[in-house]
Symmetry: C4
């Protein structure tokens, strides 16, 4: 969300360890905040909780200070406070001291620490997707909301008329009836207000069924929109990667597009086992960046960006991996599942021939104990 | 919904401000109606509420009068009362005075003001879509409803037999059992009637699972139908716009169809920023109507209907916008997302070449400080 | 479901009026049965209800007798009793007298009249589809059920251990805990058993979220399967109709398949208005069987099977219907929506040219006041 | 899940009867465990339940022993204990004696028998699919979970502030408020904690609607992912079968891929009727392995692997089966539905011609009373 870059001397704030630390502080702070609201804890524990809450607040403040410090030099620094992430960071820090200053009781002021949970949105990229879906489908979602409101109001009025005589405490005025209607239409059903008359119950039944219908539309719109947007974003990212692999980039354009739709990204750390010898193979891999090592005798072969591996198990009979492959550096791979592999090979025989020839050569080499990486020409 | 046109001298009723006013009156009226049903308000406030309700009613009556006034001259005027919108308008006005006339107490009569909420259907176009989906999928939805009714009745009878001995107040007759069944099958679960016997609880468990199944079908049918119809309606609207852009209309027909499916409409007011210099670019734009201004040095360039912009960020490396673009008039644009852009360009190389050539020309011009609009020949 | 055919002298049993009568008898019978279970009705009404129940039973028996009477002569008659519909008919009739004979009290025996609701399955064809979906997706649905059972049992045991001390009446033994688990996992939530301990509530939260997940899978599998099967069945029916229209049948095979997927059936009674002059047109029609009349001056034109109409509004500018079209006999039409029309025309230029030429001829004829039906060659 | 193979002398453990026995023991054991937790059973029954529980445990132990016995000879045997299935088997056996040894009361120790339900995961292959979907969609599901957590916490804090004064027992501290929030957001709605203030109820309404939204996303992601993975796995299995049928394997590659997507597997036991003479035919069959017998006069014809049947009903007018077909050995068939048949034939005229010629020959033969199997060349 924020493409803010820290200067090198603040390198620690860019590490994964720092991110894990932030998660821990966040979880700990929220737990402490939750604990302080309970009454049956002894004063000593209570003071410790207060201290830990102040510590969390202090750490968040430091984090914000460092990120927005002018001395950190980069152009982005001064902007950090005004980015979405910066605003959330500020929102997590400022309200609590402010509330204490204007005289709010500490018990209530510290409830504002619940805003810390918003920091999760900085870490989870999928949320911006949701915002985009909601803005794209706004008109449809508004239509469903209007149906919701119409059913809600009419049901509430009908129930108010029918039940106000017998149950004034539950349906005596329209706000009470609306409360019943909203709990029923969402099928929550607390049971604190239940129609007693026959006609009232019939209407309630219709409201419940309408609730299922409204719910169904809501679900369908959000789920479809989310899936579409997700696939679109995935396509763009995959395309960037595919065009970095010379071997794939040189295919004719429709084939590149088809392949981009089929591939799946995989980011791996150093020394991770990608495939294990003897295991069944259900996909092949393209190396976008980083490097992998194929562990064959007498000495392992290294494959760099632009090479592929794992195709032998898909082409030869047994379907088992003939060698273990391990990353030697943080690597980005593209995965082609066996079902998509068969599909793609069938429709692009020229590519199929290249991969098959390479595969045959490699398989013979493995049996004859030497192995060279296929590097795209 | 209504294509009624007002005469020029009634121009005010066509403005956006009037629509906003209607929303406010509607919301205010409904809030006042809700408030009058509560008992703990002082008499003075109550009289103010009554006055505001009468005002709302008066305003709606004026609105209807003007729209259906013969003097407004257009052919449609006399028909307005018999259109769907006119009927809803009449339904919102007439019942209240009628109820007061025949002697219904004001408290009850004003509850009819809840019908005002139906006016929302005039403003929200998506509702006609829902009606169409329901009529198209009627047979399927009826099938699900029949399953619902069968499970409902059989469950109610079974529970009546099993529980009437122990819980006569909850399951003593079939209507009571049916009430339990409907709250359970919709997974609302008020908890006012709960089976106590072991067998009864087993049946209840099965009913709940059936409820999930019925719900699932219902959801699936409505959501799928809604998505299909929405896409169909969108296609028709987009096609109308695409064929107004000469540059696109002259593509071969399958390409026009493919493009129509990919594009998204965007209606913008005057002086709205479309793209901002330096921001990442993830789509290109076609101008259908209106005009935009590309803010480049030494003097901005204006692009009218039939031109396109925003393609440079998709074709060149960085992917950032090279200039800010602002509308100079209310404009209709068509958006092509980067993922669809790549797809379309791959399958239509001749179009790709035209756009690329234009883009190269423009990019060089921007660097060389002059810029001409591409106008379709 | 049943392809049983009645002899001509029993023609009444084949009419739509008879079907409506059956619906009324069914609804009336079920209502009477429901009413008899309530205690607060006076004896006179009760005896009337009993009489009407016996009448319904008698009518259903007559219906079954006639349908399975050997004298009705057709080969199918003797089989009717053993068809699915016959079994349901028998199930609706026999149990009640049987129960009365073996000494069950009338109040309980008449509850068996709830089986009459199964007769709805004879009328609603969509139910066989559901059965097919369930059998096709059985393995997937079973997987979801297994997840359901595992979560259910483990949650029940955990809650039993945690809560049996404090709430022996709610969680004192495993069946009670299972009851809580099933109401929670289906998100019904009666509220008769609620965990009180902190750990119990945490587990309950996880169970609810699992419930949403299980529910989601269940929904997805059923809805997707239903949609697929429905489209498949629709395709087969449409294909039968398309191949009856010579004009369409002679297209090249892939075009026939594509068109079959796009078309929608419409069965119309005699003297139904299909399109109305001056209304906006959003589809064209093919006549499969029956006949329609185009009401143009000086005298209407009749179009029989194999002809098409409604294409002018899609091709010419305004998009409004130029003439009213009415069926003169019960007709089956195929509808091509405007979005699919544009798509199909773009991909099949040769068909587009034929339809356009015919349309131009007709449009000129309408303006010149004569009109001939296009009959496929 | 486990591809463990038993030696021949342990053949019994590989039979279907053994599997059914395991199901029965599993169901019996779980029922006995459930029964022992209830207090109102007499001591004699209780001792019988204890005995049956010990028997179940013993049987499971035997099963595990045999499967992991070194003497069973195969290489896999020693690995069984460390496979997923072996771990589940061990988890079902060991905890109970262990708990008894360390002095847990038998009542509580036997509750661990609920772990036996995990054995169902060994039998149901669909579960590994679910695991894969969750790992593939982990980032999206995590995003939804984060939304869930944010709404949950903010709603709980808001409700705590608003309601702690009036309802300290329900909203007096944050854990209590969180409990309310989780039951509301999942639309379970126990009703043990219900907001009373107007503002609180408004917030609750928003929380319920958010719940529907979160639920919708969750449902959509899981259902879409499940459907995609299922289709992918199906494709791979079908492809393996299609390439075993010479007649299909020799089609051009894109046709093989298209056909693989359309076909459906069917595993049949010996002497099962596949199609019945005179019934409507809605699909054709390819024999992958096993053998079927076409029952025609004067003597039946047998069709082995690589042959097809059932196409006559799809090609000829009536659409009814001309002969009954029965399996003579356990067979694997591939089914092509009529809708997919028409589609495939339209796009692959060369295959259509072969099947039609064969069909014509067969149909004439059936009428002329002899019939030869089509064997792929």
């Amino acid at each position: 969300m924020s493409d803010y870059r820290l200067e090198n001397r603040f390198w620690f704030f860019k590490t994964g360890a720092y991110r894990v630390l932030q998660y821990i502080v966040l979880a700990g702070g929220l737990a402490a905040m939750t604990a302080t609201t309970t009454s049956n804890i002894n004063p000593e524990l209570r003071s410790w909780l207060a201290i830990s809450l102040w510590c969390c607040l202090g750490l968040f403040a430091c984090d914000l200070l460092v990120k927005s410090w002018p001395l950190s030099g980069t152009a982005g620094a001064s902007n950090y406070l005004f980015s979405a992430a910066g605003l959330i960071d500020a929102l997590a820090i400022l309200p609590i001291p402010l509330a204490l200053l204007i005289g709010v009781s500490p018990d209530t002021a510290w409830l504002l620490a619940s805003l810390w949970v918003l920091k999760l949105t900085i870490f989870v990229p999928g949320l911006s997707l949701l915002g985009r879906v909601i803005s794209l489908e706004a008109r449809l979602l508004a239509s469903v909301l209007v149906i919701f409101v119409i059913v809600l109001l009419l049901a509430a009025v009908a129930m108010h008329v029918l039940e106000r005589g017998n149950q004034p405490a539950q349906f005596g005025n329209l706000p009470l009836s609306l409360w019943w209607a909203v709990t029923t239409l969402t099928t929550t059903g607390y049971g604190d207000a239940v129609p007693q008359s026959l006609l009232g119950r019939m209407i309630a039944g219709v409201v419940m069924i309408c609730g299922l219908g409204v719910f169904g539309l809501w679900t369908g719109i959000l789920a479809t929109g989310f899936a579409t947007e997700y696939r679109r974003r995935d396509f763009v990212r995959n395309w960037d990667l595919v065009t970095r692999v010379p071997f794939l980039r040189n295919l004719d354009p429709p084939a590149v597009i088809a392949l981009t739709r089929l591939l799946r990204r995989l980011e791996l750390a150093e020394r991770t086992i990608v495939v294990r010898r003897g295991r069944p193979g259900d996909c092949m891999y393209f190396v976008v960046s980083g490097e992998v090592e194929v562990e064959i005798e007498p000495q392992p072969v290294r494959l760099g960006p632009g090479s592929f591996f794992g195709e032998i198990a898909l082409l030869e009979g047994g379907g088992t991996r003939m060698a273990t492959v391990v990353t030697t550096a943080p690597s980005t791979l593209l995965i082609l599942e066996v079902s998509d592999f068969r599909d793609f090979m069938a429709h692009h025989p020229e590519l199929a021939r290249i991969i098959e020839m390479e595969s045959v050569r490699r398989a013979s080499v493995i049996k004859g104990r030497s192995f060279d990486a296929h590097q795209s020409p």
